[in-house]
């Protein structure tokens, strides 16, 4: 597998950083190389937040921020597309939390050289977690569209980050999103 660079966009409190970490953890559990880090700043609830994951079969050395991502994951559809679309590679993937259809999103972002996937992660999160924390659902959707890591590795990573009922609910969110993502 060549190196895959993923940029996560959300707002403080939605768990974009944790999502980036979960993907890297899942990859590392599988023996792959991975890196995950937040865009370093003082995080405040509601403020736009960005995080990065890199996954590869080869060691990763660079620590430069990802400016030309292969994948952009948007946790909050109200974010400005100018922010999250920046640098997304031609042929890349945009995964977005929305009730809109794939075609509507394509039209909205004005790019036909990319793949678009949509999932209603907010509804899934409300159902499973009782709160609009969509990060784990977005991870579930991502690994369906782009199988860089296995679903069970994601579940293992979730059990490392959460415990008991919360872990259970997050695993539910992952599975539901995995099933319902469309592209």
């Amino acid at each position: 597998m060549p190196r895959t660079e993923i940029r996560w966009h959300g707002r403080g409190g939605q768990g974009a950083v944790t999502a980036a970490i979960i993907v890297a953890q899942a990859a590392i559990f599988e023996g792959k190389y991975a890196q995950a880090y937040p865009e370093f700043g003082a995080e405040r609830r509601g403020a736009p937040v960005c995080a990065y994951s890199r996954v590869s079969d080869e060691p990763i050395y660079t620590r430069a921020p990802i400016t030309k991502p292969d994948v952009v994951v948007v946790l909050d559809p109200t974010l400005s597309k100018d922010i999250y679309m920046k640098g997304l590679k031609s042929g890349g993937l945009l995964l977005i939390n929305t009730k809109k259809s794939v075609d509507e999103v394509k039209k909205m972002v004005g790019r036909d050289d990319i793949k678009v996937a949509t999932v209603d992660a907010t509804s899934i999160a409300l159902q499973t977690l009782g709160a609009p924390i969509v990060n784990t659902a977005m991870v579930g959707a991502l690994v369906k569209v782009l199988p860089i890591v296995k679903l069970e590795s994601v579940e293992k990573a979730i059990s490392e980050n959460f415990s008991g009922r919360i872990a259970e609910a997050n695993i539910q969110a992952v599975r539901k999103a995995y099933e319902s993502v469309v592209w």
Binding site: I21, A24, Q25, I28, F29, G31, Y33, A34, Q35, A36, Y37, P38, F40, A42, I60, Y61, T62, R63, A64, P65, T67, A157
Partner: protein, 403 residues
């Protein structure tokens, strides 16, 4: 000797520190939280709470007290640890000299962070470089794996009876402290503990059965000789650091040297830097190599004692050496702390490259592969026109152009 079994975990460098501290069976930890170091101590507290580490955690009201507390604990023979960054390290400054002057084997990690003012919580090495003359052995790591391994080595170096000096292990704040990556840690700490056995009797400690006075006043006819002991200890540390690293490599299969080189053998030009951005440099070198440029890289892993022998050997065949420093010595003509050091080392050499000093990543100004590519291009242009600057280049600062 117990066979080591590794588990491969996703850890950031802060957690890698905590695992190493646990595996070295540290007795006393005292620290005060400061971004981006905080999670080091949080993780250690977790290990103490769940019984994986049997240590005393001393809660203190400042970094000055944190280091003072571990100095006291080290004086009675405990294995001690503390961690800080930036202003916290500045507040410790007075006690940095006490720890080394008393010859106590304190181990401390620094998640390197720029200094105030203005306030910056982001990475540069202004804090670490400011401790240059404190007589601490200073190692700078470039991956979470190396952080784990180096903290283990640090205890062995510090406690070696030939050394008995405190050791600082630094790594990039945020760029490493908060970046998850794969790290092999010991499944069971026994082999690590065998590698760094505790032997407090090998040094003079405070003991009611055998009273001594530590830190007496030294009048002019005594002070100089006592400080000269430190000069000698640092010289011995140069060998001990290498020895411990080699032994670690033999035992555990990973070693780093005091400098690391990348594609240097046939290079005409090389970039030298330290910390996590060496990884970015490596990838930039790969890119430049594929376009035919003979570029190499050097990473400084040991800053104090300064590994002058290895540096001279590594650079003498080069035409140009670009030293990318991550700190500024204000008012110096060559203001990069490491560039300064290298130029003074090369002064007496007949075979030596041109040296270009550059400041990069100040206050965590982004450093990408492209920055290194551009720097090499600029350096080669200067070299060709025989006008490599006598002053540090402040790379990327708005309002200044070079070329």
């Amino acid at each position: 000797m117990t066979e080591v079994k590794w588990k491969r975990l996703p850890l950031n460098s802060n957690y890698a520190v905590a695992y190493a501290v646990k595996d070295c069976d540290v007795d006393v930890v005292a620290a005060y939280p400061i971004t981006p170091q905080t999670t080091v101590v949080e993780k250690i507290s977790e290990f103490i709470a769940n019984g994986e580490l049997d240590a005393e955690m001393i809660h203190v009201e400042s970094e000055h007290s944190a280091l003072s507390a571990v100095v006291g604990a080290a004086a009675v023979g405990a294995r001690v640890f503390t961690a800080t960054a930036s202003q916290g390290l500045e507040l410790m400054h007075e006690i940095l000299h006490i720890a080394s002057g008393l010859r106590l084997p304190v181990v401390m990690t620094i998640a390197a962070r720029a200094l105030s003012a203005p306030i910056s919580i982001w990475c540069d090495y202004g804090d670490v470089m400011n401790t240059r003359d404190t007589s601490w052995i200073t190692l700078i790591a470039s991956s979470a794996q190396e952080v784990y391994d180096t903290v283990i080595q640090a205890f062995k170096i510090a406690e070696d009876p030939r050394v008995l000096l405190p050791v600082m292990v630094a790594y990039d704040g945020y760029l490493m402290s908060h970046t998850y990556e794969p790290v092999y840690v010991a499944e069971d700490p026994t082999p690590i503990r065998e590698f760094v056995p505790k032997n407090p009797k090998s040094r003079i400690v405070l003991d009611p059965e055998k009273p001594v006075t530590m830190g007496p006043i030294a009048r002019p006819e005594w002070y100089y000789e006592i400080k000269y002991q430190q000069v000698e200890a640092m010289k011995r540390a140069y060998d001990v650091v290498k020895e411990v690293d080699a032994e670690f490599g033999k035992r555990f299969g990973r070693s780093y040297g005091v400098i690391e080189t990348y594609k240097l053998e046939d290079a005409d030009v090389a970039v030298l830097t330290y910390g996590g951005i060496f990884g970015t440099l490596r990838e930039a070198i790969d890119a430049m190599r594929s376009s035919g440029l003979k570029v190499g890289g050097i990473r400084l892993r040991l800053f104090r004692p300064f590994p002058y022998r290895e540096i001279v050997d590594a650079v003498k065949h080069l035409k140009l050496l670009i030293v990318a420093d991550r700190a500024i010595s204000y008012g110096a003509r060559i203001a990069g702390p490491v560039a300064m050091e290298i130029m003074s080392v090369l002064y007496r050499e007949s075979e030596k490259p041109e040296v270009m000093s550059v400041a990069v990543g100040i206050g965590q100004r982004t450093v990408t592969e492209q920055d290194f590519v551009e720097l090499v291009k600029l350096g080669l242009k200067f070299l060709e026109e025989k006008r490599v600057p006598n002053e540090t280049i402040y790379w990327g600062v708005r309002g200044v152009t070079y070329g």
